[in-house]
């Protein structure tokens, strides 16, 4: 709360502070979309979702209280649900969680108008496609048995740890865990590659995500054309039954193409 005034945008910021509400932006869509009146977004109470149109494109927004932090589970889920439900019907360019602008006018003047053509072109590119995320995770017992069977050093460490009191084996336990992590990482790399190659024929784009868990076997986002969705889902089912109890396979989606829009 210093008295210094920034040169650019000081007026807008001051105005927002007086208003105490700001404009949360979810994503960019074609202008010819409609939103049901009961659609609600982030915040407490949840703000009503509105559309701001400009030319061929539009932004999904809702009012938020600038004094209240965002990030409760409900906020996160509201953001994704709104975009994913929209993405099931129309092309959507999803924004990362937490995009807030001062006013609806600013959304037009600073977001939609200056970037109109590139947003419109991007929307055309993703028309008729949706994102899926494949999350595969090694079941704990089978993968540990695999590691012990394949690696002599891991077996030796395990034996040593078992023979000695726990207090004196901290280093060995860390080394064993590190070794297991490395071996699983190598398995993950091979299985991820296999997944990417296997689904390439059914997909229009692939992004390999960082693992989100130490037992991840693959974490991959796919962009899938709507008319290939059935083939893709069947292929995922085949992979699931091939891997059986060794790997748990989950498929998320269809969702907005979060991994395929790049700033």
């Amino acid at each position: 709360m210093s008295g210094s005034i920034k040169q650019s945008g000081a007026g807008d910021r001051a105005e927002a502070a007086r208003r105490d509400t700001a404009c949360y932006v979810y994503g960019i869509l074609p202008e010819d979309v409609e939103i049901s009146e009961d659609a609600v977004g982030v915040g407490e109470p949840p703000g009503q979702v509105k559309i701001i149109r400009h030319g061929e494109i539009a932004a999904l927004v809702s009012d938020v209280d600038v004094d209240r932090p965002l990030g409760r589970a409900q906020d996160l889920v509201a953001h994704e649900q709104l975009l994913d439900e929209a993405a099931a019907e129309v092309p959507v360019l999803p924004l990362r969680f937490g995009a807030v602008m001062t006013t609806p006018e600013a959304v037009v003047e600073e977001l939609l108008a200056p970037h109109h053509d590139s947003f419109a072109a991007a929307l055309k590119q993703i028309e008729g496609r949706a994102q899926f995320v494949l999350k595969a995770r090694y079941a704990e017992q089978p993968v540990l048995v695999e590691v012990l069977t394949e690696n002599a050093e891991a077996r030796q460490l395990r034996d040593r740890i078992r023979q000695l009191p726990e207090e004196v084996t901290r280093n060995e336990r860390i080394r064993l865990g590190e070794l297991i992590t490395q071996i699983i990482a190598a398995k993950r790399e091979a299985d991820t590659q296999a997944v990417v190659e296997r689904f390439e024929p059914f997909t229009a784009g692939v992004v390999v995500r960082d693992p989100s868990h130490e037992r991840d076997a693959a974490h991959v986002a796919f962009l899938v054309e709507n008319d290939r969705q059935t083939d893709f889902e069947r292929a995922v089912g085949e992979l699931r039954s091939e891997w059986g109890d060794r790997v748990e396979v989950r498929l998320l989606g269809p969702m907005a193409p979060y991994d395929f829009v790049t700033t």
């Binding site: 099931a88 078992r162 989100s212 130490e214 008319d227 059935t230």
Partner: protein
């Protein structure tokens, strides 16, 4: 901005909704999607973002010790017949044995149910850490 895919036409099947837990949501909307800061400068509002970070740090000492512990449990489970003394000091390994009574089964079912509930809000074991993030730091 760009869409990182080759251009092509599209079809028309309507999509289905996804059943994803909070950890899945966090993986997606905190890390992916367009970053508004790249497009907007003047009228950005820096609202404080509070999120529980339920993501696991994949390579850490905690992870290593957890794996070592899991391997230990694995040993007890597969060799419990020859190690009755160890069994008595590690009751949780009994649950992995073959002689599962009705009560045990019910307890396990309850445990799994609880795990399912937890999983939908905080995948797996690590204790959630509250973490503060500010838009400007991204």
């Amino acid at each position: 901005m760009t869409v990182a895919v080759p251009p092509a036409g599209g079809g028309g099947l309507p999509g289905r909704s996804s059943g994803s837990g909070l950890a899945d949501v966090i993986d997606t909307i905190l890390d992916k999607g367009l970053v508004i800061d790249a497009y907007v400068r003047v009228s950005l509002v820096g609202i404080e973002i509070l999120t529980i970070d339920v993501r696991v740090v994949v390579a850490s000492v905690d992870t290593y010790l957890r794996f070592a512990e899991a391997v230990n449990r694995l040993d007890l489970a597969s060799q419990q017949q020859g190690l009755p003394d160890l069994l008595s000091s590690a009751p949780q390994s009994i649950a992995r044995g073959k002689s599962k009574g009705v009560a045990q089964g019910v307890l396990e079912a309850a445990g799994e149910k609880l795990q399912d509930m937890l999983a939908s809000y905080a995948e797996e074991e690590p204790a959630p850490r509250a973490r503060r993030r500010r838009r400007e730091d991204d």
